[in-house]
Symmetry: C2
Subunit: 218 residues, 2 copies
């Protein structure tokens, strides 16, 4: 039987997992909005980002209140510090989805993504979804082996990100500057989203093992 | 007379101020490297970023150790939470300077910045230096009025950032895709650097007043 304090900690975990669901859905819809030039879908992602911010603000307030009231030590303290960091990363992932949706909105009714890059962007969106879903599993199960899988998925994302630049800079590129700028920014947002998911997984590893992994750079 | 614990907290403040100096210097040198196509300067910024990461790692370790040993409450606890967040923002500012330096290195011996945008990039670099210097003042003095000044400086940065896109997208742009991609990314890095400086100032306001300001978006 868990005491009231540890039930509150479990509640924090549940809310962080809920955040992964919300920011996964946001990036899935933002990717579709970008590829389909769907203004309504894009607007939906943009307006819903406030919910992600609110979720994180509530988590932060709960942690500060618990810290002040319970004066946690050792593993409980570490859990709260990690929850703060994980929440901040998930909140940024919501921002990245919002930024992708804003590119879709800005170019509507055109699609910001030229035909030869649509498959790459679609794949980046899929990897982003896979990464955040696995990050949610990590948070819920504290399984270190799942955390390691995220590193591999992130390598795949980096490879696609390099591919974008390869296509942009090639002499065959015929779309001019505006789509190049859009693709550059969209690519950066997908790559940052993936980096934040990796940071979440590394924070879980730290929680379980006490070992600090180097933070994802980007 | 301060007790040993509060002397350690003062030491944390000093180290955060030291981080602002290091990341100010990094962005100043990165901007010069970008404008002058100075490979040696760029390499210096890139290799020195590990020092910023190390500074932050030491600050984090100190905070975790103090939290575990002292079980701080109220204002001391809040100070530590804020120091963690401020350190993380400063560490990211170091990354942004490194990214700018990497653009300079990638395009060497050419300059990545076309002539008609050099003044804008120079001005973005100056505002970045001003922002981080004021952020250092905020940390050292906990002066809320300085914190408010950063919001105005950040508005100036956003205006220059929009100017970059205006020039890139204009029909007069004759430099093609590669410089457009470089300018897009460099602009993003300066703008993110500024946003993190604003977050630092807002964290100081939170420390002093207990009021959470909305986090800088970007």
């Amino acid at each position: 039987m868990r005491d009231a304090f540890h039930e509150e900690l479990d509640g924090l975990t549940d809310r962080l997992v809920e955040m992964t669901r919300v920011v996964r859905s946001a990036m899935a819809r933002a990717t579709t909005a970008l590829l389909d030039a769907d203004l309504q879908l894009a607007e939906g992602v943009i307006s819903k980002d406030a919910e992600v911010d609110q979720l994180f603000a509530e988590i932060e307030a709960t942690i500060f209140e618990l810290m002040a009231r319970q004066q946690p030590v050792a593993v409980d303290l570490r859990m709260m510090i990690v929850a703060l960091r994980v929440g901040a990363d998930l909140e940024r992932m919501g921002d990245m989805a919002e930024h992708v949706a804003k590119i879709a909105r800005m170019r509507h009714p055109d699609s910001a993504i030229p035909p030869e890059l649509r498959a790459t962007i679609l794949e980046m969106g899929h990897i982003a979804e896979r990464l955040v879903t696995k990050a949610g599993t990590c948070i819920a199960t504290r399984d270190v082996s799942t955390a390691l899988e995220l590193e591999t998925d992130d390598d795949a994302m980096d490879k696609l990100h390099r591919r974008l630049f390869h296509v942009l800079m090639a002499p065959e590129w015929k779309h001019g500057v505006e789509p190049a700028v859009d693709v550059t920014l969209a690519g950066r947002y997908f790559e940052r989203y993936a980096d934040h998911a990796v940071r979440v997984a590394r924070s879980v590893v730290y929680l379980v093992t006490g070992n600090r992994a180097p933070q994802a750079q980007g």
